[in-house]
Point group: D2
Chain length 404, copies 4
């Protein structure tokens, strides 16, 4: 029996599901793993899955893949592009797309499990495979931990995970130390006073309040952060009003903040709150803004020793040029919680999904940002191969390095 991984990937790509709604995805995974003879527990952390391969004495290696898609309207033009719809937490029907490549993560982990099952005589120890929901909410790993995943399965000696990214296919990016930024997601509600669109003076206009806030937030990164430090203040969504001739009563902003460590986090959060409150005051708001933290993600820090060991393994497997230091990424992950809670090392690496020639041309032309869509873009799509094969091999090489 051999799983058709390409067909699996295409199927998942066509049927993305939003965070904590990955039920069809889970069903597909369960079907394949069951065919491999594995027992799968469903519903761990709401929609997560766990399976394990116990194969004699030896270290316990956790392999983690995330499963959720994003509310993005796919525009890749692929013949297997998603046309799926979903319902977001606000009850809104939205398009859904695997714009972050989690379908590639799932397919790779399924393929790696098949390989490990079929090569049991070559290794010993325990592999625990974690199919995590809701990474995009920064909530899935915590949900699985709250559901006891660390207690009900062999505790890890190491946690491993990977992410597909706009590097050239064939290249792995990994570095010791801080690999990904810490992050907070905030929701801000600005309270104005509604009224008729023709009578602004009888209102406190929350649209103007929101616009002024967005413009002023820009000055945090441009003026208040050491230019040599990394910080991102993104307003990812802004919503106010239903009609041109009604000035609404409030506006909602969703912010995504990024920083390399907790010290920077405290500083940036203080600045963001200062700006938001002052801009409400500038508008003469009668109520201070409501600021809610939706999630907090720690920095993703790769264990120095384990990363060095893994880098060596990758170089032996794929060649010396196959591993680069991609620098710290400003993206964030919740995979860390598994390792942090267990008190064990983590290595989280990136692998490339871009046609190498296209990548080289874009670098040469100075058009990388324009021509190579990044994760979360409606145009994001890894080339199917060799990305998928390498996703499988990466996991097998990595697991075998830390197994006996």
């Amino acid at each position: 029996m051999t799983i058709d991984l390409e067909a699996l990937y295409v199927d998942l790509h066509k049927h993305p599901e939003l965070s904590f709604q990955e039920t069809r995805t889970a069903g597909v995974i369960v079907r394949h793993l069951t065919e491999l003879g594995l027992e799968v527990e469903e519903g761990v952390g709401r929609t997560g899955l766990v399976t394990s391969i116990v194969n004699g004495d030896g270290p316990v290696v956790w392999l983690r893949a995330d499963m959720d898609g994003l509310p993005v309207q796919e525009q890749t033009g692929l013949d297997y592009a998603s046309t799926a719809k979903g319902t977001d937490p606000a009850g809104l029907e939205v398009p859904v797309m695997h714009a972050c490549g989690h379908d590639m993560h799932v397919s790779s982990l399924v393929g790696a499990l098949e390989r490990l099952v079929n090569t049991k005589s070559d290794w010993s120890g325990t592999v625990v495979a974690v199919f995590q929901p809701a990474e995009e909410y920064g909530a899935g790993s915590k949900a699985m931990i709250a559901d006891g995943v660390l207690d009900r399965y062999p505790r890890p000696d190491i946690v491993l995970g990977q992410h597909v990214t706009p590097l050239p296919a064939g290249v792995i990016g990994v570095r010791p130390g801080t690999q990904m930024a810490a992050s907070d997601g905030l929701t801000v509600v600005l309270h104005g006073r509604g009224g008729h669109g023709s009578r602004p003076h009888s209102t406190i206009d929350p649209v103007v309040m929101a616009a002024a806030t967005v413009m002023r937030l820009q000055t945090i990164v441009s003026r208040e952060i050491d230019p040599r430090d990394v910080a991102v203040v993104t307003v990812g969504s802004i919503h106010a009003g239903l009609k041109n001739n009604i000035i609404p009563a409030e506006a909602k902003l969703e912010l995504s903040l990024r920083y390399p460590n907790d010290e920077a986090r405290a500083k940036v959060l203080e600045k963001v709150e200062r700006v938001i409150r002052a801009e409400a005051a500038a508008s003469g708001a009668e109520q201070t803004p409501t600021i809610t933290t939706d999630h907090t993600l720690p920095p993703t820090i790769n264990d120095e020793t384990a990363t060095a060991r893994l880098t060596g393994a990758f170089q032996r497997a794929f060649g010396d040029d196959s591993v680069v230091d991609p620098g710290m990424f400003t993206g964030s992950e919740d995979v860390s919680w598994f390792a942090r809670e267990a008190g064990v090392p983590l290595v989280f690496w990136f692998w490339g999904g871009v046609d190498p020639k296209k990548f080289a041309d874009a670098v040469a032309g100075g058009t990388l940002d324009r021509d190579v869509p990044t994760n979360h873009s409606p145009y994001f799509a890894p080339v199917l191969q060799p990305t998928l094969d390498r996703g499988v091999e990466n996991l097998v090489v990595a697991a075998r390095e830390f197994l006996a």
Copy 2:
């Protein structure tokens, strides 16, 4: 038989319907008018109604009331407050409220028709009652005209209409000449480039583009319009993005513009477009913004002679102090189209719905804007009486003035 108008008003208030969806409202009106022995045509201009009382020779007077509610979440705290929901043109479920008082307009016109039916011996001529849909979209009168209302009913010698407003109950506001502003509703789509919230440099951020546009639009009124002229540039809605960590590909703004005449209209529109295009250019947008005109409303101009005549009639009926010149309102109306198309005079007046003591206190305290909610506010609610009785009487007095 006497219609319980207060019960009718409360019923309508509890069951507001969005523009072009006023089917329950229409049903209620038809039931009452039928009981009066009137024939009512339904579906004129999609959801509009027309009825007429032909009572011998004499002038043809059109009385017009609008019927639609607004996507506003009522916060009046009234025991008959609306909890209704509706589906807006974008398919979004929204709260609905009679935040502009059209329930009062409908109830008053039903009451006036009853009175006119019961006093036929006192007057002669023809009354045509028009229950218009979709005033809030600026589209209902045009829809009824396109549906032939001016051809299929006796053409008016005069068109009359009224609007409840935050004047003290008992007071009528009307002026010859420009009574309400001209207006355009625009939808603007700003095109950026989406991507991951942690990688702003790979995107063209439409949230920042939108915020900069909103701030820059403020300078049209503050710097480019003669301070003695009337102009309003309201951004009534702003929408972009679905999630804090995805930078969306575009942002949508809905604008409501107001001006006293067509000359000003041309100037303001040119300025608004100039700012929108330049701000997209400042963002390095690769596509110019898409600007769509949703509706265009002419100024509401009261006929000088007819207004003088009607003012006299109101003063005789309600006292010399009962009529004030409220100045030009920056709000807009589509009632004009009936008179413009027919080439006949229009008089459109306002009548007060605020408790006189509350109004006087607010004036004395300089807190009118804060304490007296305006139309379209979630707190807007006329006092039921004497507002309703006066709404009926206004129409009867006005109709009788122009009938034989």
Copy 3:
């Protein structure tokens, strides 16, 4: 003896002087008035002049002209354009120009005095001529009053004054009631923290603070003032920093505010201060901004009765079409203080200085704002004639109307 008024005007135009520095101007006036046999007191309110013609019994009429120029680099291209320099209060050398037409005011009043001296047999009463300094600082009339001008000269029964303006030559603009706006001039110092241009994070950047403040101040007029009311919030100067690579410690803004009355004044001032303080807070400023009121000008209110009487006199003298109601002007004047302090009526009118054909073409082309330079523009220049002759005649007609 006949004064060559055109030569006087050209001489004054070539030699403008800043506020409270009008010494050469005063000397020229004194020379001419002395030749007329008048006694002139110099140094009234620092650089002001007063003379009087006592001619038997009758009313006391004050005629007032202001004398100062502005720190503007003349760009009219006239062969008598100013190339003068002056020293402003900050000690800075600046260009000076009669960009507000006070040279025309002075020349007209000198001409009117000559005419009144030469026609003494035709009238009786007293004429007091006030050549006021520092109108542009809003400080000259108060300085003259503080210097006792109302006590040392016959107290007026009426105060008259005039201003040249971009109306067609031959046209007078005057209205009863509020003719010009009230105004305040504010200086705002925003306190940041200076540092190296390459290290913004070690500073509190006052340039950004100032820019954000200017943008936010726009929202007062665009959103917080009834669109039907008049209000102006102008930032006329902004200054910060000496060098591109030093972030300065503070920024200075000079604001000019306009409103029709004291009630509006209080509201706008409160809003302006609110915005300034909040924007400093948004910057994390450690010191609140310093806000100083440089001058306060009352509204210029024309006495109803006297204005009606004067309008009749002008119409008799110049034709029925020669007087228009120009509406309220948003400019401001300190002439009111003389009448307010004396408790007597004021009439202050405008007269046109634009070639009528040029004016008509600009109106027809809708290019009035572009083609007809306004007061304070570097291109402002009345046509010499008939503006000057009419300036003289206006004053003579007006004075004679109120004299016996």
Copy 4:
């Protein structure tokens, strides 16, 4: 004979001079160097000085110090604080301060020359000492090169220079590769249309245009630069207008831009120009902005081999802990031109001037940015000792390392 270096430093600190006006400074230096028996050429590159010590065969080492002060009002409270005034290029009288520590650079180089003269028996080769003017304009080294300094003196085998900085006294900061950023200084003139402060609609307000431009420029760093890259867009000065009630015709901005290399330079410049032009378009400006490059500074790149060698020498002289890698600085220097033109290595290092305890407390309290004033701050002042002694020793150690 021994020069009293502390007295020299205090004298220079009290008498700072602006760029290309360092004539008193030059006189003081000449007097001291002449006493050492050195011949000094004056007027090299307008106000620069050069001297040399030829001491047998061996390498040629150039030691460079810069001499100019800054237009900053000193607020250190030191008893030797500057109260000097100067005239800036615009003819404005401004306060002057050694806010960048060039007085310390000059004093250190004078002291080092005395030491080298007195220890000639210990070394052989040639030392060329360059006292450069106008570093703050980024113009002095080019002026000296244009004046033939590289042809008229022994060409260097290496160029050495140092800068005092907010590190703890006793600490040297130096790194191989890019040590300081590339930079451009731009002057931008925004063209509006002037007019009366009460009639904004007749103008194109350059103050609002400037404010909108400053706010929009913030979005380049906040949104368009990879958060991991270094870029600074500072508007160091903004000037428009002379009076609150005149809207001026134009506004002037001075920008300081920073980036690590020429590729980034091209990108940032393009973005800056795009924003400036678009904001003028948003204002409806009739003339595009005038953008002038005042100076262009290359990145300061330390030679890898020479830096390693010098680091070793410093560690031997001052202890292993005495040298740190301070990272790339976002400040810029024109010292590079000497080495670039000569095609030889450069090493440029920083040395600390802050009391170590104060520095440690600020680090511990997280208040470094607030409590330790940076170069160009009105509070910047190195502790006199041991800063001055170490400035001398650094140069002697460094020169000796590269001499025979």
